[in-house]
């Protein structure tokens, strides 16, 4: 029986066979709550992973894939050198785009240091060209050589020095998210398994009576598996829904910081948490199945 067809089979059910397993009891509450709480936590961990993933992507792109070319030249030659640099960049494989910063942009960049009334045009301030790499990146040494030839005043600054820790930090945050997600999913699996085993242990008498009156293992296991899978699915669905609502209610992320996006799902990422109840149900299905057959085999 494949997981999916088994699962669908289970959800169809058989009203008569169903009644042989008690509907209520502490093990029911335990299974419902465990899968619910763990689904809730899983949604948070997922949000953290996705958010830090976005963050790492943004940093990688914004920092790792951008560099600056600084052109210092007499005012007369400046325009020519800018054009030369842009032309070189256009022909360089691995460069996605390049553009010269406008004077306003440079003024904005420098304002914190020099104040708003910096007489840019009167200063021998170099002009800046922003370079965005493609995913493959360009060869910085080759680019430097060509720049030296075409525009002697141009200096390539590939930000290597200060972009590294940022990217590393983002990656650490992302892996932290995935580690917690893995931890939580592992705990879900273990706890649903233990809850199923403990519920089955509480129902050993039911199993004994059913064996006595001639029920096959398959019949008994099915009844239990169906109950538990449905319970885990219910619990996890509620937990996931609550988790998604909680995340939607979190103070919304503003982009001002630029380097820390909000915790939350963006666009299609809202579909990700929907996998949590499905995974919980599949886990419960296999856990209960294994526990049921193990318990059954221990009885004659």
């Amino acid at each position: 029986m494949s997981a999916l067809s088994g699962l669908l089979d289970i959800l169809k059910g058989d009203a008569q066979a169903d009644r042989v397993v008690p509907r209520r009891g502490h093990s029911v509450r335990l299974t419902l709550f465990t899968s619910g709480a763990m689904a809730f936590l899983a949604v948070f961990a997922l949000a953290l992973s996705l958010a830090s993933g976005r963050l790492a992507d943004r940093w990688s792109e914004a920092l790792a894939r951008s560099s600056t070319i600084r052109i210092s030249a007499p005012a007369a030659q400046m325009e020519a050198q800018i054009w030369a640099v842009l032309e070189v960049l256009e022909q360089t494989p691995g460069v996605a785009s390049a553009r010269a910063l406008s004077e306003e942009e440079q003024r904005d960049l420098l304002e914190p240091w020099f104040g708003p009334d910096l007489p840019l045009e009167d200063l021998p301030v170099p002009r800046l060209v922003e370079v965005i790499e493609t995913a493959e990146g360009y060869d910085p040494d080759g680019l430097r050589l060509r720049l030296a030839a075409e525009a002697p005043g141009a200096v390539l600054d590939d930000h290597t020095r200060w972009r590294r820790p940022l990217v590393r930090a983002a990656e650490r945050l992302r892996s932290l998210g995935w580690i917690s997600l893995a931890l939580i999913l592992g705990s879900v699996a273990a706890m649903v398994t233990l809850a199923a085993q403990s519920a089955l242990a509480a129902n050993v008498k039911v199993i004994r009576v059913l064996r006595l009156v001639g029920a096959r293992d398959h019949y008994i296991a099915r009844a239990f598996v169906r109950r538990f899978t449905l319970r885990a699915l219910t619990g996890a669905t509620v937990g996931t829904a609550l988790g998604m609502i909680a995340i939607a209610l979190l103070p919304s992320a503003q982009e001002e910081g630029g380097f820390l996006t909000g915790l939350g799902f963006a666009g299609l990422h809202w579909l990700w948490p929907l996998t949590v109840p499905i995974l919980s149900a599949i886990t419960a299905f296999w856990a209960t199945r294994a526990a049921a057959f193990k318990t059954l085999r221990s009885l004659p």
Partner: protein, 225 residues
């Protein structure tokens, strides 16, 4: 039906029963006696494949029990009615559903069950308790219910372990009546009991053989029974 050849059994390496030879022919009526702890329950468990003989052979419906798969055992049990010494039920289902459980499990619920069920519950004096949950029953009521559950499927063989231990004499005779009736219809019956009066009452109605477990061996009881 059920045949034991040189069968032996012991718990945990011990030796409780040995050299057991017995053939339960179709339509026969047997009593099994012996002091408490002699091994009556163990013997019955060998018969319904709850235990496997440590040596010798036990044959159930022409199959060696030690070679039966778990599904074969379930299948065989659908053809047998067993009254356990400690009558266990599904505590969350009303009595009537518990008694009909063997039919439900065999997929024979519905129409077939309704007719038999109410008649049977009347016979064992439980009509008024049909909707009670098993924990609400008295000890004797539970034993009667267990017997009803054992015979509801119209099984070929009925094995009963002390079915009247908690039941007053009049009701015991009534239950015996039911078993005698079933035996006359051709069912094979084996009853473990220490109630000698019941055995005497039965022998007045059918030709029953009385077996006795003593010192781990199976013997035919003396003429006094």
């Amino acid at each position: 039906m059920i045949e034991l050849q040189d069968a032996a059994y012991g718990y945990g390496g011990g030796s409780l029963l040995s050299d057991i030879n017995l053939r339960l022919a179709p339509g026969s009526f047997h009593f099994l006696t012996g002091p408490s702890g002699a091994g009556k329950t163990t013997f019955l468990k060998l018969c319904y494949a709850d235990l496997h003989a440590t040596s010798g052979r036990v044959t159930l419906f022409d199959q060696d029990t030690s070679e039966m798969s778990r599904d074969d055992v379930a299948q065989a049990r659908q053809r047998m009615g067993v009254v356990h010494q400690d009558c266990e039920f599904l505590d969350h289902l009303p009595l009537s559903e518990n008694i009909a459980l063997p039919l439900t499990v065999a997929g024979r619920g519905g129409a077939e069950q309704d007719g038999n069920l109410s008649e049977l519950m009347g016979w064992v004096g439980l009509s008024a308790r049909a909707d009670a949950l098993p924990p609400e029953l008295s000890g004797g009521e539970r034993q009667r219910a267990a017997l009803a559950r054992a015979v509801i499927t119209d099984p070929d063989v009925i094995l009963a372990d002390e079915p009247t231990g908690n039941i007053d004499w009049e009701m015991s005779l009534r239950l015996l009546q039911l078993l005698v009736e079933l035996n006359r219809m051709g069912k094979t019956i084996l009853i473990a009991t220490h109630d000698l009066a019941l055995i005497r009452a039965a022998k007045a109605q059918v030709s029953a053989r009385v077996l006795r477990i003593a010192g781990g061996r199976l013997q035919l009881a003396g003429a006094d029974l």
